[in-house]
Subunit: 72 residues, 6 copies
């Protein structure tokens, strides 16, 4: 009965989301012997102006060229 | 002080959301004697490509005609 | 595929939780024709010192006899 | 390592979100000595027809001129 | 900046949780090129009387020997 | 109608939680003119073996003396 919620800054493609969902489900089945039929994964795309880290939005950090957030 | 978060695959109408919000609030008042003024219900509509079950997206399962997800 | 998360101030009995889970599931089946086999409801019990409203904890508001939170 | 999720009825401006993110992060650093580099704040904008209080949607309560929800 | 929340029925060991955290992080780094330093995974253990599926608690379904929930 | 969920690694005192709840509520009132009576803040204490960052648990990172997580 696992339920997994993944919050990401927006930008993942449909194919990447499929890969994440398959990979996380496989992991739960393999590590915890969970039933895939009751394993749910919900991805939420968060706009960069709605995600803050270090007290600043990801939108602002990216605009400033911050290397720690530029790739993720 | 209950807070209820309902994640749904997108598609509920405004009238259905009103019915859900009224019904969940009534239930909390009736079963737990909660104060409706401090009972919040937040519905989130999730795109079918963002919801995974059995390691696949609901979008893919519906496209394949899977009966378990076709109706919900 | 609904997923419902209910956060409550601690104190509900096991029987009350069963009633909530049955009632919320019935509502989703009736209003949205959801499949009960993929309808999950997770209840979380929150300690009154961890829940704040009006800038104060429920623990403090209850200690002060606040009527709005005394029953819920 | 705090993670803060703020659900708001939609309408905050980008500048207000920046102020919230900065303020919540400062508070966690000041009160709990948290490392700002691992302090995340995610804001979610909720449509007024998806937020229920007192068994009614905020959309309906605002349409009816309810003073308790008109400002927030 | 991903944030992953995994809700599980209680019972995973510390070693299993480490494996889940490592696996989910690896997946996010590999699929989305996320920065592991800003990838957070939070596991929540949910008591079987607090998790409902099919309108019944996992506690009740397990007591009845339900095969779909016995392993997960 | 804001709802704020703060996930923290366990260890905050009751007084620190009160300060966080008061501070976050004040911020929402000041920045967004929210009604404090409908502003809820829920704090969740997460065990260090349930929180992962960089693919490792906070428990493991702290045991190894990692400076980035030692203080938060």
């Amino acid at each position: 009965m696992p339920f997994v919620n993944v919050k990401l800054t927006a930008g993942a493609t449909a194919a990447q989301k499929e890969e994440l969902i398959a990979g996380i489900t496989d992991l739960l089945v393999r590590v915890l012997n969970k039933n895939p039929a009751s394993t749910h994964v919900v991805i939420e795309d968060i706009a960069p102006e709605n995600w803050g880290i270090r007290g600043q939005t990801v939108a602002a950090l990216r605009a400033a060229g911050d290397p720690g957030v530029s790739k993720g």
